[in-house]
Symmetry: C2
C-alpha cells in the first residue's frame, strides 16, 4: 500500500476523503503482473477529479507507483483513491488543496465458476438511487447508497438499482446492458450512476463489430423483456444474468461474443 | 485527538468512513470547559448510527473520552465521527463490524461580530439537493453536495439549498427557519437534509413559549415573503438573515427572542 507514494496504510483523520467523502476512486485487476486497462482507468480518474476540481496526480507518477507494486502483487485487485486532501475549515474546498492519493491492494475475489458459464441471479433492490446530475457518472467516495443497496442483496450475485423515477440505472457494483432484437442498450447515466471502464469497453467493442448501441433511459419492463441481460465491471468482467424477477434466460450468445472479443483485444 | 479512545490523528486507509463515507458525525461547541448539549448530540449520533446499522459507542465511554479532552481544549469546536469500521470486502456491511470513533478538535471560528447583530447575507445555491429518504435527516459522511454547494457561496455567510423539486431544505451547514404571522416554520427533512441539534432546540423552545411551530414543505416564494428568516447550527447558534434574493430584513425580534431564550436555558 502507498499513501502519497510512500509505503503505509494510514491517513489523517482530517483528510476530506474521510470527512466528506470528497474524493474519487477506481478499481482495476492486475493479472500476471499486468495492470489491465490502466490508461483507461487513469483517464476516468482524471475526468472525475476534474469534474470535482480535485488535483489529479499525473499519469507518469501514478504509473511509476503502480509499477513498483506489481512485482510483489502480480495477481490482485488494485484500488486507487484520490481525495481533495487535508481539510482547512468547513465544506468549501480550498482552491490550492494538495490531493491525497492512495494505492491499496486486495486479493482477487473468488466467484463461483458457474456464474461465468451459467449466468447469475440478479435481484431488484428496494433502495432507489437519488438523482444528482452534478455527481452522476463520477466514481466518488459518497457511496452510502451502494452500501445500503448491497446490504439488501448479500445472498445473490448482484442487485439492480432503479432511480427515484423508476428507471433502470446500474448494479450495486456494476453496469447493466440489455440485448433486444440485436441492439445493445445501456442506461443513460446523466442523472445518477457510475460510468465504469468496462462499460466503455463494451460500448466501444460492440460498435466496432457493427452492433447498434443505444445509451438511453431504460424502463424495468424493457429490461424484463430483453433477449439477454448482462452486467459488467472491471473485476469480474462480464456476467450474463440467468434469473431476475421470475424470469429466466438461457441464451447468452451476445454476451459471450462480447466477452470473448474483449478478452482477445 | 482520539482514535478509538487512543491519542492519535491517523486511521486506516481501509476504514469504510474513507472508502464509502460509511459513517456519521456531530459537531459541538465547548465553551469554558463545558461541552454544550452533549447529551442531545449523543442522542442524534446514536439515532443516526442505528438508522444505518452502525454500532454506536456507549454514552459513558464517549463522555469519558470527551471529558479527558476538555481540560486542554476548553474553548473549541469538537467533532465526533463514528464510522462502520474496517472494510472486509465490497460495499455490503459485515453485521459484526466494530465501528471506529474519532474525536477531533478545531479552533472556534471567528465570525464578523456584525453577523450576530445585523444579520447575514444568504445566497441561493444553484446545486439542488438530491432526494434520498433512506438517508434524510442523518448527518452521514456523504457530504459531496455540501462541498459543491459551499464552493458556490464562499463569499457570503451561508448558501441556501433547495431540493430537486424546488423546495427549501436547509443551508450548506445550517437549518433554516421562517417566521410568518407569528408562526415558526421549518422545512420537513423527510426527503433530504440534516436535522441539527440546534434545530430541535429551537423547535422545542418555540413550543415551550407557546409559538405555533410547523414542520412542513416550504416553497421559495413563502421564504421570500416571510417576516423573518433565521439559520441555526451548533457552532454559530442562530443568525438572522438580513439579505436574500434582493430582499432585506431588519426586524429580527422573533429570532432575538428565541436566541436569548436558548442562551438562558
Amino acid at each position: 500500500m502507498l499513501v502519497n507514494g510512500v509505503p503505509g496504510n494510514l491517513i489523517s483523520i482530517r483528510d476530506r476523503g474521510l470527512l466528506y467523502g470528497d474524493g474519487v476512486f477506481r478499481t482495476l485487476c492486475v493479472i500476471n503482473g499486468h495492470a489491465e486497462h490502466w490508461p483507461l482507468h487513469y483517464q476516468k480518474l482524471q475526468h472525475d477529479c476534474n469534474a470535482l476540481g480535485i488535483h489529479c496526480p499525473d499519469f507518469a507518477g501514478l504509473t511509476a507507483q503502480l509499477d513498483s507494486l506489481l512485482v510483489d502483487h502480480a495477481n490482485a485487485v488494485y484500488k486507487i483513491i484520490v481525495t481533495r486532501g487535508l481539510a482547512t475549515r468547513g465544506y468549501a474546498p480550498a482552491p490550492d488543496a494538495v490531493s491525497t492519493h492512495i494505492w491499496d491492494i486486495f486479493p482477487l475475489p473468488e466467484y463461483p465458476k458457474s456464474w461465468l458459464k451459467q449466468g447469475v441471479s440478479l435481484r431488484l433492490c428496494e433502495l432507489r438511487l437519488s438523482v444528482q446530475p452534478r455527481l452522476s457518472g463520477i466514481k466518488h467516495l459518497n457511496r452510502m447508497e451502494n452500501v445500503l443497496a448491497a446490504a439488501e442483496c448479500n445472498d445473490v450475485a448482484e442487485g439492480l438499482l432503479l432511480d427515484v423515477g423508476g428507471w433502470v440505472i446500474e448494479g450495486t457494483r456494476s453496469n447493466v446492458f440489455l440485448v433486444s432484437a440485436g441492439r445493445l442498450i445501456t442506461p443513460d447515466l446523466s442523472r445518477c450512476g457510475v460510468a465504469g471502464v468496462q462499460r466503455d469497453r463494451v460500448i466501444a467493442y460492440a460498435r466496432k463489430i457493427g452492433m447498434s448501441v443505444e445509451v438511453r433511459d431504460v424502463a424495468l419492463a424493457e429490461l424484463l423483456a430483453a433477449d439477454e441481460i448482462f452486467l459488467t465491471n472491471s473485476v469480474f468482467g462480464l456476467w450474463s444474468v440467468a434469473t431476475f424477477e421470475q424470469r429466466d434466460w438461457t441464451d447468452f450468445s451476445c454476451a459471450i461474443q462480447i466477452r470473448t472479443g474483449l478478452e482477445d483485444e
